[in-house]
C-alpha cells in the first residue's frame, strides 16, 4: 500500500473513532429489538447494508412489530431521511469538482454523524473527499457489526456500561463547539435549539430537525446581511 493511501486511512480512522464508539450501544440496541421482533439475523445484516440509516431502521422495526404495510414503512423512511438532503447540499460546497462516480459512492454514507465530523474537518482545512469517504465507510462498518452483534449476542451484554450511551451526545456537543466561529453562528445555534425544542414539543415526529435548522439558518442569514449592511 502506498504511503499516501496509508495516511488517508489513518486520518480517516482518527476522525471516525468517536462515531464508531457511539454506534455500538445504539447498534446493539437495534439488534436486540430486531431479534425480539422476530426478524432473522440475516435480515438485520441485509438491512444495515441496504439501509444505512439508524433512526429509520428503529422505526422500521417498530412498524413491523405493529404490522404496518411495506409501502407505509418505505414512505416513513423517506420522510425521516429527507434531512440528509440538507446535509448533502451543505457538503456539496466542499466536494465541488469531485467525480460523479465517487459522489455516488460517497452519498451512501451521508449520516448525521459522518456529516457533522466531515463538515468540521473540511472547515478546519487539510481534509479531502478521500478522507471523508474513509470516515463514512468506517462508520458504516461499525454500524453493520454492532447491529449484527446485537441480534446474535445482544441480550448478554450489560446495558449502559462506562457511559457509552453518551458517546454520540458528547461528540455532537464538541462538534457544535467547533462550529461556533463567530457571533452569527452562536445566534443561529441558539435559535435552532429553541425552535427545535418548541417544534419537537408541539409537532409529533422528526420534522423538527429539518424545520428548526432551515428556519434558524434563514434567520441567521438575514441577521448576517443586516449586520454587514450596518457596517
Amino acid at each position: 500500500m502506498r504511503e499516501q493511501t496509508k495516511q488517508t486511512l489513518r486520518d480517516g480512522a482518527a476522525a471516525a473513532w468517536p462515531i464508531c464508539l457511539g454506534y455500538f450501544p445504539i447498534g446493539l440496541a437495534l439488534g436486540v429489538l430486531t431479534q425480539k421482533a422476530g426478524l432473522p439475523w440475516w435480515a438485520m445484516a441485509l438491512m444495515s447494508v441496504m439501509v444505512f440509516a439508524g433512526s429509520a431502521q428503529f422505526i422500521c422495526i417498530a412498524m413491523l412489530t405493529a404490522k404496518a404495510s411495506i409501502p407505509a414503512i418505505i414512505m416513513t423512511t423517506f420522510v425521516i431521511n429527507l434531512r440528509h438532503m440538507l446535509m448533502s447540499s451543505a457538503l456539496a460546497v466542499h466536494l465541488s469538482g469531485v467525480s460523479r462516480r465517487f459522489l455516488a459512492l460517497y452519498s451512501y454514507g451521508v449520516t448525521d454523524e459522518s456529516f457533522a465530523v466531515n463538515m468540521t474537518r473540511f472547515r478546519e482545512g487539510g481534509w479531502d473527499h478521500r478522507r471523508a469517504l474513509v470516515v463514512n465507510q468506517l462508520a458504516n462498518t461499525a454500524w453493520f457489526l454492532a447491529t449484527l452483534a446485537g441480534t446474535l449476542i445482544g441480550q448478554f451484554i450489560p446495558q449502559g456500561a462506562f457511559g457509552i450511551d453518551y458517546a454520540l451526545t458528547g461528540m455532537f456537543i464538541c462538534l457544535l463547539v467547533f462550529q461556533l466561529q463567530d457571533r452569527i453562528c452562536i445566534i443561529t445555534g441558539l435559535l435552532a435549539a429553541a425552535i427545535a425544542v418548541a417544534w419537537y414539543l408541539m409537532i409529533p415526529g422528526d420534522s423538527y430537525i429539518v424545520g428548526a435548522s432551515m428556519s434558524a439558518a434563514t434567520l441567521g442569514y438575514v441577521l448576517k446581511r443586516r449586520y454587514r449592511r450596518g457596517k
Partner: protein, 107 residues
C-alpha cells in the same frame, strides 16, 4: 415475512434513503452556486447540530415535555466547558461518557 419480502422492503427503504443523500451532491457539486446559497448553507451545520442536540438535552421523550433536570443536560454543561477549553473531540467524548457514567451511579 419471506426473504423476498425483506429484500423488497429494504430495497425500497434503501432507495428513498439514498436518493435524498445523492441528488444534491450529484447536482450541486457541478454547478457554480450563488453566494447567498453558499452563505445560507454555511449556517446549516451549526443549525442542524443544535437542532439534533437540543431535544435530547431539554425534553423528556417519554412524556414529551420540557425538562431541565435530565442527567443528559447536567452532564452536557461540564462536557461543553471541556470542549471549549481543550477543543479535543476524543477527549470530550471520553469525558462526557465518564461523567454520564458517574451521574448514573449517583442518581
Amino acid at each position: 415475512m419471506s426473504f423476498t419480502d425483506y429484500l423488497f422492503l429494504f430495497a425500497g427503504m434503501g432507495l428513498v434513503t439514498y436518493l435524498p443523500r445523492a441528488l444534491p451532491l450529484l447536482y450541486l457539486t457541478h454547478k457554480q452556486l450563488p453566494q447567498w446559497l453558499v452563505d445560507w448553507l454555511s449556517l446549516i451545520p451549526v443549525a442542524i447540530l443544535s437542532a439534533l442536540l437540543a431535544p435530547t438535552l431539554f425534553t423528556d421523550s417519554a412524556t414529551h415535555s420540557f425538562d431541565l433536570g435530565k442527567p443528559e443536560l447536567l452532564v452536557a454543561i461540564p462536557t461543553l466547558i471541556f470542549a471549549l477549553k481543550t477543543r479535543s473531540l476524543g477527549g470530550t467524548v471520553l469525558v462526557g461518557m465518564l461523567l454520564y457514567w458517574l451521574a448514573g451511579m449517583i442518581i
